[in-house]
């Protein structure tokens, strides 16, 4: 675990890494150096979050069931507040993980399950259903989804691309 590399590329300081690591180990009940989905679900505040499962999925790389500390930190780094001394960094370096566009990308990926870079009506419906539970009927939910796509869609393909999402 190379601390200088992390400092340079993610802007996470040494003591923050230590704190995050102790959080990681306290979540890791099996003590095998990786977290599984059950470990995340043990956090009560996450378990009651309607989008809890999607957020947990965001931590796991494609098709895998375990996430190591590097992946854990990487995902959390998206939400680090932007500090002033970073704004003047060089424009040619890799974009920091917590930039606005990366945060939006994170949100976009919550919707886009099949990763085709478009939010289809079905995918939108799925997320909507997760957020409202059983309190809204199917027809109403369908009309919400249709209206949202109508307003956001600009190239007429009945789906929302990332550029349209950003607006």
């Amino acid at each position: 675990m190379n601390a200088e590399w992390h400092l340079k590329h993610k802007g996470v300081s040494h003591s923050q890494i230590t704190r995050l690591y102790s959080r990681f180990t306290s979540l890791d009940k099996g003590e095998n150096g990786t977290l599984s989905r059950e470990d995340f679900q043990r956090i009560p505040e996450l378990a009651i979050n309607p989008l809890g499962d999607r957020i947990i999925n965001a931590f796991f790389p494609e098709g895998e069931d375990q996430v190591n500390f590097r992946g854990f930190m990487r995902t959390l780094a998206h939400f680090r507040p932007i500090e002033d001394n970073e704004k003047s960094k060089d424009q040619n370096g890799p974009e920091p993980l917590n930039s606005r566009s990366n945060k939006l990308h994170f949100a976009f990926r919550l919707y886009d399950l099949d990763k085709d870079d478009k939010i289809s009506r079905d995918e939108l419906l799925q997320v909507l259903r997760m957020m409202v539970g059983v309190n809204i009927s199917d027809e109403q939910l369908g009309s919400i989804a249709d209206r949202t796509i109508q307003e956001a869609d600009q190239d007429g393909d009945s789906a929302i691309s990332f550029a349209e999402f950003v607006k």
């Binding site: 300081s13 040494h14 003591s15 923050q16 230590t18 704190r19 995050l20 102790s22 959080r23 306290s26 979540l27 995340f40 679900q41 043990r42 956090i43 009560p44 505040e45 996450l46 378990a47 009651i48 979050n49 309607p50 989008l51 809890g52 999607r54 957020i55 965001a58 931590f59 995902t75 959390l76 998206h78 939400f79 507040p81 945060k103 994170f106 949100a107 919550l110 919707y111 997320v127 909507l128 957020m131 409202v132 539970g133 059983v134 309190n135 809204i136 109403q140 009309s143 919400i144 949202t148 956001a152 929302i160 999402f165």
Partner: protein
């Protein structure tokens, strides 16, 4: 040669008898007559001075390295949160409609929970702002200054070679219950400040307190006799429980047994109806919490009726961590840790008795008592259930969140266009 050995044996005999005499005079006699010699107070004062000096050392040492690291070390939370409610974040000016961006609120809250949440951190030891020279509590063991290291080494020697054997000897010689408890408290270098003793629980009442460790029982028992209600444990604690059961009337049950709960409730109501019996001591949280907050009080003991005597117990974490993390440490490890700490210092406040009002239901009453205890002890109040240490959270909470979200995006029974935004 033989004379030498004889002389040697005599010297050893002398040391042993001096030790025994010291022990009797300084520990046994005062405990029996409940008198304090003030030695503990003096000892505690010395430790406070030393810890303050140690903190200064750390601060100076780090200034030589980098001040930034210290700032992060002392910060109380790992993340900065914005305390906004769902209504503020999502609604804004756009009430009555759904936005694609609504998902940002939930994902932010979700990731905050992953990095740091209110509940699971209560089930592990409290993080101290400054180091108390026990290597257990310091995650970053930097080499700061050689003076500090010397003090730390001396501290280790004192704690492991001087304090612990003395305490083990004391521990083995307990017989009678109340003298036992006082002796036990003294032996763990426990310094307990009792406040408001005029509010001490009388016969026929129920005493409720916040729960941090089995030591709570010892501390309260040294100041009054109680009947206990508790979880049946295996191992060493189970043996202690069994032997305690011989002397007084106690109620033991199994946490996971549903029918046990009704049985327990019946027994409790019988017990308090009989005025001659000792007051019952109950810990309504149901499990050990790390003493920074008070979690949900189970309503069972508040439904029975009768007078409730709340007691607030707050440990001073500088001297040693009294919290028993039963999922991580066994009883023996815990006792060992306690015996090798500096001291157990705590404050016990006896609060005025409370009674359930006419139209109040048990849950509301329980919350009222909980708030009083939390305010007195300087702890925060959490609505979460202590049972979450071992079990998963109920689905109904998630449904509640979903309902709240719906109320925001629906206006007048349907999702209209709302305000254009």
């Amino acid at each position: 040669m033989e004379e030498n050995r004889g002389g040697h044996g005599l010297a050893e005999g002398n040391i042993l008898s001096t030790w025994m005499i010291l022990f009797v005079v300084l520990v046994l006699l005062p405990s029996m007559f409940r008198v304090s010699l003030g030695i503990s107070h003096f000892y505690v004062k010395i430790i406070i001075k030393m810890l303050e000096w140690a903190t200064l050392q750390i601060e100076e040492g780090v200034k030589k390295q980098k001040a930034l690291a210290l700032e992060n070390l002392i910060s109380t939370g790992i993340i900065q949160r914005e305390e906004t409610s769902m209504e503020q974040e999502i609604a804004g000016q756009c009430r009555g409609r759904f936005n694609l961006a609504d998902v940002m609120y939930f994902s932010k809250k979700g990731c905050e929970a992953v990095a740091e949440d209110e509940v699971t951190q209560r089930f592990s030891s409290e993080e101290l702002v400054s180091w108390n020279l026990l290597s257990r509590t310091n995650a970053n063991l930097h080499h700061v200054s050689w003076q500090l290291t010397v003090v730390w080494v001396i501290g280790i020697l004192i704690r492991y070679c001087l304090l612990m054997p003395f305490r083990v000897k004391c521990w083995l010689s307990n017989q009678v219950q109340m003298i036992c408890a006082t002796l036990g408290v003294r032996c763990l270098s426990g310094l307990v400040h009792f406040h408001n003793r005029e509010n001490r629980p009388q016969e026929g009442g129920i005493c409720v307190a916040n729960h941090t460790s089995p030591l709570d029982v010892l501390i309260l028992a040294s100041d009054g006799c109680y009947s206990l209600v508790g979880q049946a444990h295996g191992g060493i604690l189970g043996l202690i429980q069994k032997s305690w059961m011989q002397t007084t009337q106690h109620v033991l049950f199994e946490r996971s047994e549903m029918k046990d709960r009704h049985l327990v409730r019946k027994k409790i109501s019988e017990h308090i109806a009989d005025k001659a019996k000792l007051p019952i001591l109950i810990f309504p949280e149901g499990t050990c919490i790390n003493n920074t907050s008070v979690m949900m009080f189970k309503k069972g003991s508040f439904e029975v009726g009768g007078t409730i005597h709340p007691v607030a117990i707050k440990y001073d974490p500088r001297f040693g961590d009294a919290f028993w993390n039963s999922t991580k440490y066994s009883m023996m490890t815990y006792i060992f840790n306690v015996m090798t700490s500096w001291a157990i210092v705590c404050n016990v406040w006896y609060l005025p008795p409370m009674v359930k009002e006419e139209e109040e239901d048990a849950v509301h009453f329980a919350n009222r008592v909980k708030a009083v205890i939390a305010v007195r002890g300087g702890m925060s109040v959490l609505p979460w259930d202590g049972g979450l240490k071992r079990n998963k959270v109920k689905e109904s909470f998630k449904e509640e969140q979903q309902k709240r979200y719906c109320q925001i995006i629906i206006e007048n029974g349907s999702v209209g266009n709302g305000n254009v935004c």
